[in-house]
Symmetry: C2
Subunit: 367 residues, 2 copies
């Protein structure tokens, strides 16, 4: 395959994780090394929005020492976005603009770091460039605490969030058991459609300090069944810890806060949807006479970089680095993923996945 | 002073901190070393409740290697309690029972680890023993994330909680700033009457990642003044982070959740007090058109032992160790506290405080 000479750009999209900057460091370090092929290396400010607005950072101008620190810098150094590109068949304004910007700055390598939606964006941009006859290699770099990307054993960002969740579940378990009085604790964990994060609470059980019950969005949620489960454990143990994914839904498709959406009003009379944990805690408090606490792991589960997994940091870096190497080698329209041997100690190898496949599939926890 | 020979007991009381077991380790290690004076060393299960019920652990039977691990074991290894002893002048049943248990087991050294209420308990027990002519040395070991004990520069448990709060504020700051859209984040921090914990959010500002506004219970809370402050910063920055102590009150003495206590109903129609942060977030969302998040640091701020301060661990151990040494040397009715030189690098020296003084004073943040 012929050598494609030009400039490269990298953008970060969607919610932060503890390791997105490690992927940025991987892309930048490798791209700057590809002299003679990649001429200039840019970082887009706020992802695709920065490309539309021609707001780039010239990474070659950065202090190499700072670039080294980037690998372990929390959150998104470039800024992120939640901008949704239209279907190009309906409205191709943004795509034309991106092509214009790419042409103007001779962008021949486009690396995008994100989850399902971002991989879809990536794929659509790539198809548009191909149609327009503009030679540009597009590679997706996975990023999500939700761990729901297709074609990869796991996603950068997930391990660090799982480590936070498991660690904090253990600590909450210990805190909740010091009194000899009854107590029920309901912990709310992120994950709209996939329960990987909530499931990672089970890692705390490995040391004997895990939740008694874990509810994932993959299984229809039954409020009365939960009550019976909690009652059964409470009668025996006097203490119950429930971990629940924010995304659990009843058989009728209602999220938990929607069950009371009509009843609750906010500080000044407006309807207000509570959090999943607090609604369940209210419900249990009403049925079982004991102290019931709701705890939301909130943003902390995705931003607690002080507890990042080193393996996660290294793999996020590797994903970025690999994206650049593959693109320079002539590949395009792929997301860098991982695969693991079915047995034996932990090993992680690269698995390249077509962006079109990633874009349309959500990987849920298997039953 | 004559040598008082007999057995010792130690109990933990009130909410857990990351370092209460370090104090336990300090007491146990030192007490076991005092052969010839202290004969048996007991740990009370669930604090004073364990004494009333004669539920002790014989610490001399424990594996010394396990005892070493105790210093860095999270939460309360012995179990805690929130049992309130009656005023002995009104009802001395519990005090008589404690005296009976102490006599039966020849307890001559009583060490109690807790906050204001526990020091009060300690003081009352000591006074009762004196009146009854039962020779027993009583020493308080401070423990509180709230940092509100009189007579000590700071309290074991506070530094670790402050470290969690400052670290997490920095991480939330970074997470909340990745988008180019407006966002207001309200963080709720523990502290019913004293604002030390909420104030520790200011440590994040030292690195430039702190909250824009911090509200402490020491100052009357004015909802409209807060709105004006938030609006002013929002107009300039497009991002605002508010840290608020759960204990802030209006000039009329109402806690924030009480402001809407009449309006909010729970999942099944019952009145429900929301959290301080969520009520303020509802209010701000109503007034300022942008994304508003409420984050409660909840139990995590006091139980996140993975982020404990090493200085805190060492000082908690020292407090326990000193309590034993002082009691063996003939002292009683004192709490072990700390003092620091007014200037120069961090140093921490022992400051012994009469229990009667600690029992009746709450140390608030000075204005």
């Amino acid at each position: 395959m012929s050598k494609l000479i030009g400039n490269a750009i990298f953008g970060q999209s969607g919610g932060p994780t503890s390791v997105i900057n490690a992927s940025a460091a991987g892309v930048f370090t490798e791209a700057l090394r590809q002299t003679g092929v990649i001429e200039k290396v840019y970082g887009a400010a706020n992802g695709i929005v920065g490309i539309l607005n021609e707001k780039f950072y010239d990474i070659g101008q950065e202090d190499p020492a700072e670039l080294k620190l980037l690998k372990t810098t929390p959150s998104s150094a470039l800024g992120s976005c939640r901008y949704k590109l239209a279907n190009p068949e309906v409205d191709d304004t943004d795509y034309k603009r991106i092509l214009e910007v790419f042409r103007k700055h001779n962008i021949r390598y486009f690396f995008y770091n994100g989850g399902n939606d971002s991989m879809d964006t990536c794929n659509k941009i790539s198809k548009f460039m191909q149609k327009a006859g503009y030679d540009c290699r597009v590679m997706g770099v996975p990023k999500t605490v939700d761990n729901d990307l297709y074609g990869t054993d796991h996603c950068p960002g997930f391990a660090s969030a799982a480590k936070y969740i498991a660690t904090t579940c253990m600590e909450v378990y210990l805190d909740a058991r010091v009194y000899d009085t009854g107590m029920i604790t309901v912990i709310e964990i992120m994950g709209r459609n996939a329960g990987w994060l909530a499931a990672s609470a089970a890692l705390a059980s490995y040391k004997g300090y895990g939740p008694d019950l874990i509810y994932l969005p993959e299984v229809d949620f039954d409020l009365e069944k939960m009550l019976r489960d909690v009652q059964r454990i409470y009668q025996k143990e006097n203490k119950v810890i429930v971990a629940v994914s924010e995304g659990v839904k009843t058989r009728e498709g209602k999220y938990i806060p929607e069950l009371v959406g009509e009843l609750r009003v906010d500080a000044f009379g407006h309807k207000q949807m509570g959090g999943t944990a607090s609604v369940l805690a209210d419900y249990l408090r009403d049925k079982i006479d004991c102290k019931v606490r709701a705890i939301e792991f909130s943003l902390m589960q995705r931003c607690a970089a002080h507890l990042a997994s080193l393996t996660d940091v290294e793999e996020a870096f590797l994903a970025g680095q690999t994206a650049v190497r593959c693109a320079v080698d002539g590949m395009t329209d792929l997301m860098v993923g991982f695969q693991r041997p079915a047995e034996g100690p932990y090993q992680c190898e690269i698995n390249l996945v077509p962006l079109s496949k990633v874009a349309n599939t959500e990987k849920k926890v298997p039953r």
